[in-house]
Amino acid sequence: MSFFTGGSIKPAQREKIKQFVGFTNANDKTAQKFLKENNWNLEAAVDAFFATGGATANGRTWAGADQRKLSALFDKYKDPDEDAILVDGTESLCNDLEVDPTDVVTLVLAWHLQSPRMCDFRRKGWMEGWTNLGCDTIEKMREVIPSLREELKDPSKFRDVYNYTFSFARAENQKSLGLDTAIAFWELLLKDKFKHLDLWVEFLREKHGKAISKDTWNLLLEFIRTSDENFSNHDTDSAWPVLIDSFVEYAREKLGFEDE
């Protein structure tokens, strides 16, 4: 940021430059230019940036997606008071995309659009996400949904979405994930992946009854992938979270497997 050491820029303005860069991926210099021309009005500056084809002006070509159209679509759904698509906007977006909000595919979409939490889409993530997916109209977006569903079949993508889900589902300012929410998302994501999902949920409600840590959330997927059906290869001394160890013990007893 040595560029700004001249001192003529106020902290508030610096913040706006940052946001501008966030939305447009332009460099600081361009951001400053557009903001100055638009009297430091962020929204106007961004609009102007896309209207003048500023995207190409800063040397990057955004093939496949018209940034102006995308920005306009964002504005259509966005909350009147905040620069974000919130509950109402999400609902009508889902309607327009013809997607059930409880469909697992919404998680993939949220992941692509870098939604920080449920029913909260930001302009930056929106622009980048859709651009990467090559969509700038509702129709194109609707068409891309089935391919998003396909992505869940790729194990490494699934892990990304799964791990992302933790922070997505978590309540604001909370470190861990409330048990009910965690279970709801597990049931959404792991229904056909985890043979003992019901037992896991039963165990959590009966013995744990507390929030789930990020570590446990992430490691559960690894656990499902590496352990065999009767947990014979599970080693309680290795790096698994204690909660998973206790589950194995619980499950072995319930299912009548010999502890090996």
Binding site: K214, E222, D237
Partner: protein
């Protein structure tokens, strides 16, 4: 003697030589009848004859002669019933003669060096090794092997060896046999092969192998009958003797190299084959403390390498069972009085350690088994109490170090404490011991109930030696505080004199470093009796002058006071707690008080006040006039003039114990987390196993952490973002700086 070569006709001169040679082999006193020097000349002449020397011819002819002689010898041997004696006698004659012949034919031998031996080809049967160099003696021995030995073995049912084995069996059974004859016969097999490259092969093949087989059969039979007939301890004694005998027998009859093999064969049959019975007996021996048998069992079973390991297990389990029994018999009384617990374990430990020396020849594996047993004993929960061994041992130290009516002599205390340390070293939970020990030492120091400062310091240095400086640093600090406080008190009374301050009371104070003592300020807002206010405020001033910036927190609940009662029949002196004093002094001002008055004036909580009043009423110092009002009982009388009024504070309450145990758990968690962060900070990235191992290593001095506890700490640190898992792995951690 002439050295000049001559022309010699072999056929003419050989017969005379031949006759002389035959005489040698036929006679037992060869030297008397033959002329060595003539023969030597004859050999020389034949070997140097020209135009052609008769070297080869001479050698062959000697061979023919010996073959003829030896077949006669074989017939002589076979004609006797006692083949062994005959063989041994004939062999001795033959050996001596062959030796002389060899000397006489020295010149021939020298000529033969250049020739390849015509016999001793390893491919031929009954050859037993290649001849290194040719000589008449080698030839003679070879012919003996070929004719006599082969003849006895192949054509006459191996009679020699059969009879030898039979005689040795008779020797074992206690019959008298001819030891020299047996030895000579066996030794001939070694002598016969001495000129070959495998000098022992003949002996091994012809005798040792069948002998070992025979030994095996003999002892298999004998041990089976013996063990069925006898008590095991008798059997062991017999076997012990047998092994010694067999060693001597082997030395008497066999080549030294056989000893080991023979003994091993015996051990296999007598010990290894019956090890189950022997191990069972070992247990019984231990139970009955038959130490002589124990030594015997050890000396037998330790002969085989893996014989010991089963003994060690038995020994270890036996000790554990014994100790558990002792502990079990103590029941729940051991919490109150851990003396018997500690002392019986101490004496058991000393006893079995002593046994290692006396019975098991100081074998370190046995010492280690004792250690292992005691480690298991002190680290397993005791069924009859919730107290752990660490707690009990700390309490035991307290009992020893506290001044009591029936005190021990100081040297006894010291001795017991130093033995206690051996048990202490077995503890995994040294931190638990430390926690309890520090609470008790605090009380001893505050109330001045220690046996002696020296005893306390001795104990501290023992703990320091066992666990390091860090372990005792807080305890040490407590001592320093007490010493400094003594100086402070002297300084303060001088200060009072100098400034002519009349405090009105005697006053002694302990200034304790916060954090080093397991103490915390009391929550009650106790109002200091006015008689003491001046002392406290003056001391605060005094202390503030010397130590600028230090803050004094008064722990009134720990203070005690001596107070004199002046208006009764005698001048009684009461030793009370400061709270009790606070209550008593109120009666100086007001003759009758209600509970509410007291609570109001002292600001103590009601349960505390009730407890204090109850004690005073119980000893008749106060009287209740109606349910709520108390007055001083002026008729108070007691045999003693000095009365000590106990408070609950001096004995441990169950709440304190639980609190202490809980505090240990908390300390451990912090300790482990700190250790994990420290390790990860220096190593940056580690696998789960490595991290866990290093944490265990670091904690070992204080306690043995369980893996789930370590894992929980790791998880907490991940949550707090001190460390993280390496992305896409599940068993590696990385430090977050």
């Amino acid at each position: 003697m002439s050295l000049r070569p001559k022309r010699v006709d072999f056929n003419a001169s050989f017969p005379a030589f031949r006759q002389e040679l035959l005489n040698m082999f036929h006679s037992t006193t060869a030297r008397a009848k033959v002329s060595g020097i003539d023969m030597f000349q004859q050999v020389y002449d034949l070997c140097t004859s020209y135009p052609k020397p008769h070297t080869e011819l001479l050698f062959q002819s000697i061979g023919d002669l010996l073959r003829e002689h030896v077949s006669g010898v074989l017939q002589t041997i076979l004609s006797r019933d006692d083949v062994v004696t005959a063989y041994a006698r004939e062999w001795e004659k033959y050996r001596v003669a062959a030796n002389y012949a060899n000397i006489i034919c020295e010149y021939l031998n020298r000529m033969l060096l250049k020739m390849r031996p015509p016999f001793g080809d390893t491919k031929r049967p009954f050859s037993h090794g290649r001849y290194l160099k040719l000589s008449v003696e080698a030839l003679a021995f070879h012919i003996w092997k070929e004719t006599v030995l082969a003849g006895l073995q192949t054509h006459h049912g191996n009679r020699l060896v059969f009879q030898l084995l039979d005689w040795i069996r008779q020797d074992r059974d206690g019959h008298i046999v001819l030891h020299d004859v047996i030895y000579n016969a066996i030794n001939s097999l070694v002598q016969l092969n001495q000129h070959t490259d495998q000098p022992l092969q003949l002996y091994i093949e012809m005798f040792e192998n069948p002998y070992l087989e025979d030994t095996r059969d003999y002892y298999a039979r004998e041990s089976n009958t013996q063990i069925a007939q006898d008590r095991i301890s008798c059997y062991m004694r017999k076997i012990h003797e047998r092994l010694a005998d067999e060693g001597a027998r082997s030395a008497r009859f066999c080549h030294p190299t056989s000893l080991e093999r023979v003994i091993k064969e015996c051990e296999l049959q007598c010990i290894t084959a019956h090890h189950r019975e022997l191990y069972a007996e070992f247990r019984v021996i231990l139970e009955n403390e038959r130490f002589a048998d124990c030594i015997l069992a050890y000396s037998l079973l330790s002969r085989s390498a893996d014989g010991i390991s089963a003994m060690l297990d038995i020994f270890e389990n036996f000790i554990i069972t014994i100790a558990r029994d002792v502990i079990g018999r103590l029941g729940s009384s051991l919490t109150k009085d851990p003396r018997e617990y500690a002392e019986s374990l101490m004496s058991l430990q000393a006893k079995y350690m002593g046994m290692c020396d006396e019975v098991f020849a100081g074998n370190l594996a046995f010492t280690a088994a004792v250690d292992k047993a005691f480690r298991s004993i002190v680290n397993t929960a005791i069924p009859s109490t919730s107290s752990s061994a660490a707690e009990l041992l700390a309490r035991y130290c307290d009992l020893l170090l506290k001044r009591t009516a029936k005190g021990l002599v100081e040297s006894e205390v010291d001795d017991k404490l130093s033995r206690m340390i051996t048990l202490f070293k077995y503890l995994d939970d040294k931190d638990v011991f430390q926690k309890f020990y520090s609470r008790m030492i605090a009380k001893r120091l505050i109330y001045g109930t220690s046996v002696s400062e020296e005893a306390e310091l001795n104990m501290l240095s023992r703990l320091k030696a066992a666990c390091g400086v860090e372990y005792t640093s807080k305890l040490q600090r407590m001592f320093t505080d007490v010493t400094i406080s003594n100086d402070l008190n002297v300084g303060f009374s001088k200060f009072a004199q100098l400034n002519s301050i009349n405090l009105g009371t005697e006053f002694s104070i302990l200034v304790l470093t916060a954090g080093s003592w397991p103490l915390s300020a009391s929550a009650s807002g106790f109002v200091l009796p006015s008689a003491l206010e001046k002392s406290v405020s003056q001391f605060t001033t005094f202390y503030g002058k010397h130590h600028n910036g230090r803050k004094l927190t008064w722990l009134h609940h720990l203070a005690r006071a001596d107070v004199k009662i002046n208006h009764m029949d005698k001048r009684y002196e009461l030793n009370v707690s400061l709270y009790q004093l606070g209550v008593l002094l109120l009666f100086n001002v007001t003759p009758s008080l209600t509970i509410h008055d007291i609570i109001h004036q002292t600001k103590l909580n009601s349960s505390e006040v009730e407890r204090i009043l109850k004690i005073f009423v119980d000893i008749n110092l106060l009287t209740v006039i109606d349910t709520q009002t108390y007055i001083v009982n002026h008729g108070f009388a007691s045999k003693r003039t000095k009365i000590k009024i106990n408070t609950a504070l001096q004995t441990e309450t169950p709440q304190e114990v639980t609190a202490a145990r809980k505090a240990v758990d908390e300390d451990r968690k912090l300790y482990l987390q700190a250790a994990i962060v420290r390790i990860m900070k220096s190593r940056k990235e580690l696998s789960h196993t490595q991290l866990v191992q290093q944490v265990i290593d670091q904690a070992k001095v204080n306690f043995a952490p369980s893996i789930p506890v370590i894992k929980r700490c790791i998880e907490q640190l991940i949550e707090k973002q001190y460390i993280d898992r390496v992305p896409h792995t599940r068993d590696r951690y990385v430090y977050i700086s």
